[in-house]
Each structure stands twice: as structure tokens, then as C-alpha cells.
Symmetry: C2
Subunit: 328 residues, 2 copies
């Protein structure tokens, strides 16, 4: 089969179309003819050799896909050849075929294209894990979602609104991105390049007003995050793109405000965790996809032969929502 | 009634026996003739004016007691005059009488003296909250309990063993205190004055081997705590007696090891939280008190007229287990 592989022969690693052996579906696995996959920041890191795939995973990039079941391995009971499915991968999405455990696969909801479905797994499952499982957001609480126009950010805004009727506050780096988060339901969006988000937030909603924060930025926001959190607030780290070193951290507010700070990545979780998460997401959020309350935000779609261009767009932070590869 | 009040007229605040008005039991409250109370570090802080009582609480020191129901307020249905009870207070234990909500009171288990019962509420409810509710310790996991010979430390060791059959590691500041934690069931105790606990712990149990840490110390242990935590480890702060400022904190291990860091104090929790905690503790741990698996460690008992001496002993860190006041 054809697959996009990392070519490290030139000065910078680039994606190159090449031949790879088609994977065989193991026990309880589906072989899927991929119709669309979506980009993730982890792809860029893995391409640069900074984010090796977990043990047992395909070395090929690509953490999610939508496609058609081509074949099934031993013991498969949930799907059959011809079914339209989508789901989370540990790798292998940048290819014509992939294998996926049947418990990680989800059936394509009615009315959703392969491109839309491919845009769902990473961002919605990550946002679901962060908001519902780790952040334990309760109905009517206030959530601050940093990088609100990112893939996970857009999914998080929709989930927090649709599932918890939360007050949603976001940050983003341009007026256009702020406008996007508003159309998704954000009650307040702050352009972090133009204003001190903590000051603006306190001015609008008061001190100690945020129950849950979803952060991808890290150290630059540490102190402000801690300051705006309410009693019993929860700060969830999904990444630390802006830096990881915090100087002069104080434990006092953690104790006084009874804060919880959690870090989590989805990729290195156990299979059984991902099965449970996929199952829980299907149970509670799937009807919201079908009703349109959760609608993946797609920035742009590239033919997979233009993958380098797509990667560059993400590296330059020019996307608002997911970037899709198709044409396999 | 007689009560110990804080006398701030001399150079240092001291406890002085004085007259105070006997409290009236409100709705759902019991009036209790106190037979014994126990010291807490919060008492020393409150005496120095550093830890004001929460709104609505008695300004008198004393966060727990055991005694006899003298009278009941409107709506009380769980206890009657003459019942032997013990429980958590927001204040008021250093006196002849106190009031307590009936849902915070627990019946004295068979065979327990008032002195033993007075030693239970703060340390066992705090340890129960930290280990079972916040730390979510699972059966067979490894827990590191700092200040293992302190009141909460001794309760935590017993609870972790009796309820979760955990591997229990403790730190303490003397050989005698280490020996005490061993008799309570600790599998390894390290004298933090003599050895680098993280190095000793790793040597014995390997790197990243601790699932839950209960810490009262704060910044001096931050980095070691983070280092010894296992994947999905949980670090629970109940106090920061050793300092609160952490220089150069890194968010990387929080993300990579998917850590959870929580701060909590019991005193400023809502009544309904304390009701639930008391109820949950009764349901799951009471039989272990009655069977002797949980047995309060009493360092010493003072007549309440010798309160200053008792305070000094705690201030000098000379106690292993609880210090009791009696003779009201």
C-alpha cells in the first residue's frame, strides 16, 4: 500500500509518499481502507523525532481516521466488511490502510462525511477526557479554555456548552480566532496578544471565578491560571507548548483554594482506558454529534500528496480547527 | 462554663482558664458535656492569630471532642441525652460544653475511652479524606506518608493498611518515631534527618514507585515527591509546614507521568462535605475501629489546666501521636 513516510535525508525531515506493507488485522482488529485522516501537533513532533510512537504502535504518522472496513480479524463481533467507521489510532493514519481494535472504532453517524468524521476522534476524545473525566465539570460551572480556536479548543467549547451548559471563556491569538470561538458558543474570548487575559476575565466575572481550566500553554500562564481559579478549581494540562519551567511557584493557593492540578496525554494511555473513553463518549456525546450540537470545525482539507503544505500551515499556527488529509 | 481562652496581654499569647457563656444547641445540634479534647497544629496557629476560625464557628480553640449528650436542639433525631458521642468541631473543644450538629457526631464505639475517642476525628477523617477520597488509593498500591509519626500520619498508616492493604512508606525525624510507624504497619520508614528519603526509597522499591503521597511539608520535598511518583501518581497536600515556595518547578513530569496534585484542608469545608465524610467514614472504617485495626495513637494526656505544657510539647515536635486534654 501507499503511505506517507518521514524522509530524513535532507536538512529537515519531510513527508514522502512511499510503499509500505499493508497491516494484517490481529485478534479483534479491523482492517480499514482509510478515506480521510487529520493532522495533530504530535505528528509534527514525531516527524522531528521528538515523539516516538508507543510500543506496539505503527511507526507511520496519523492518530485518527475515517474509512471503510475492508476485512476483519479473529473474534471481531461489532463490525463487518463494508461498515463505515472512524476512530483513534496510536499511529498509521497517513496510509491507504490501517488496523484498529473494534472497541476503538465508532460507526459513522448519519450525515457525517469521512472528512468530518476523521476530524472527531483526537480532539473530541481529548476534550471529553479533559472536561468530563479529569476536570469533572459540573452543570453551570465556568470553564476557561486556552487556545480556544485549536482543534481540541473548538471541541472543548462545544462539549462544555452542550453537555454542561457551562460558562465558557476562551483565549486565542487573533480577532478571527476569537470570532470563531464566539460562534461555537464561547461567552467571552480574549486575544492574549492584545490583553492580559486574567485582568480582563476578573473584570468581567470577578476574582476566583473559574472552576476548570484546560491549558496547552504551560509556564507562561501558570500564575494567571492559579490566580483566576475558584475554590476547588481544577487545572488540566494537555500540553505545555509555551514552556514548562515555572519560577517561584507557591503551594499556598493550591492548599488554600483546594486546587487540583492534573496532567494528561491521551496517546500513551492503555488500550482499556481508550476503550472505556471511546465507549463513554459514544454513550454521552454521540447523540450530540447526530443532532449537530457537536460539529467538528474543519480548517481546510488537503490531498494527502500536499501533506507538507498542510504540516507547514499547522506549524505556522494558521489553522483554526482541524486540517484534513484525503485522497488515499 | 469554664473554657480555655487565649490571653494576648503578655509577650506571647497563652491559654488561660476563664468563664465563657455556655452555647445553646441550635436546630439539629447537640449540647455535649466534653470529657476529652485533642490538640491540633491549627490550635497553635489560631492561638497566634494566624488561623482565624471560619465564619459561624466558636472562637474557642479545639477541633474535636468526646463527651456526653447533655441536651438536644430542635429536630434532633439521631441522639438523646446521655448518649456518648465524639466528633469534629469547627472550634469550641477547649471548654466544658460545646454544640455539634448531629450529623457530625458519631456514637462512641464499644470499649473506647473518651480520651481515645477524642483522638479520632481530626486525624482519621483527615487521613480518610486524603487517602480514600482525594488520593483514591487502590488495593495493593504504594503510599508514601510524610510525618508518619504525626497524628494524621499514624492514622494514615493504619487506614492505608487496613482498608487498601497498601505498601506503606513513611518518613519521620527520629529512630523512635520510625519504630512507631513500623509497629503501626509501615513497610519502610526513613529518618529524613539521616538519609535522602528519595534515594533510599528508590533503592528499595525502584524508580517511579509511589502511587500516592500524603505531604504536610511542602517545598523542601516538592522535587523528590515528583521524582518518586509513579505514572498516574497523586500528590496530596494537607499542609506546607516546611515552606511553600518552590523554585524552578517543571510541568514536564506532571504531563509525562499524568500526575495529579491536590491541596486540601478539612476545617474550611462545607457542613454538607463534613456530613458526607463523617458518614462515609462511619460506613467503611467504623468496624475497623471496633475490631482494633484502627487504634488511635495517643502520645500523652494532660489535664486541661496544663494546656500550655501540652502546646509546648507539640510546638517542639516532641509528640508521636495525639496529645489529649481532659479533666473538664
Amino acid at each position: 500500500m501507499k503511505a506517507l513516510l518521514v524522509d530524513t535525508r535532507s536538512e529537515y525531515p519531510v513527508m514522502r509518499m512511499d510503499e509500505a506493507s499493508r497491516p494484517d488485522p490481529g485478534e479483534n482488529e479491523l482492517l480499514v481502507k482509510i478515506k480521510a485522516t487529520a493532522l495533530n501537533r504530535a505528528d509534527l513532533m514525531q516527524k522531528e523525532g521528538k515523539y516516538p510512537p508507543p510500543k506496539g504502535a505503527s511507526p507511520i504518522l496519523g492518530l485518527e481516521m475515517a474509512g471503510v472496513v475492508e476485512n476483519t480479524g479473529r473474534g471481531v463481533s461489532l463490525y463487518k466488511k463494508g461498515d463505515h467507521v472512524f476512530g483513534l489510532l496510536s499511529g498509521g493514519g497517513y496510509a491507504e490502510y490501517c488496523t484498529i481494535h473494534e472497541k476503538l472504532a465508532m460507526p459513522l453517524p448519519d450525515g457525517l462525511s469521512f472528512e468530518e468524521a476523521a476530524a472527531i476522534p483526537e480532539v473530541y476524545l481529548t476534550a471529553y477526557q479533559a472536561i468530563i473525566w479529569l476536570g469533572e465539570l459540573k452543570t453551570g460551572e465556568t470553564i476557561l479554555i486556552h487556545a480556544g480556536a485549536s482543534g481540541v479548543g473548538t471541541a472543548a467549547i462545544q462539549l462544555a456548552k452542550a453537555m454542561r451548559n457551562a460558562r465558557v471563556i476562551t483565549t486565542a491569538g487573533s480577532e478571527e480566532k476569537c470570532a470563531l470561538t464566539a460562534t461555537l458558543g464561547a461567552d467571552l474570548c480574549m486575544n492574549y496578544k492584545e490583553e492580559d487575559y486574567a485582568a480582563s476575565l476578573e473584570e468581567t466575572f470577578g476574582k476566583n471565578s473559574v472552576d476548570v481550566i484546560i491549558d496547552f500553554i504551560g509556564s507562561p500562564y501558570w500564575e494567571k491560571n492559579i490566580n483566576v481559579l475558584a475554590m476547588d478549581g481544577r487545572l488540566i494540562y494537555l500540553s505545555v507548548l509555551g514552556g514548562s519551567a515555572v519560577e517561584n511557584m507557591s503551594l499556598i493557593p493550591i492548599l488554600r483554594k483546594r486546587l487540583t492540578i492534573k496532567g494528561s496525554t491521551l496517546r500513551n494511555r492503555s488500550d482499556s482506558y481508550k476503550f472505556d473513553l471511546t465507549n463513554d463518549f459514544r454513550k454521552h456525546a454521540f447523540s450530540l454529534i447526530e443532532s449537530g450540537a457537536l460539529k467538528p470545525v474543519i480548517d481546510s482539507t488537503f490531498n494527502w500528496e500536499q501533506c507538507e503544505e498542510a504540516h507547514q500551515k499547522m506549524a505556522d499556527n494558521l489553522n483554526a480547527g482541524k486540517i484534513i488529509l484525503t485522497g488515499m
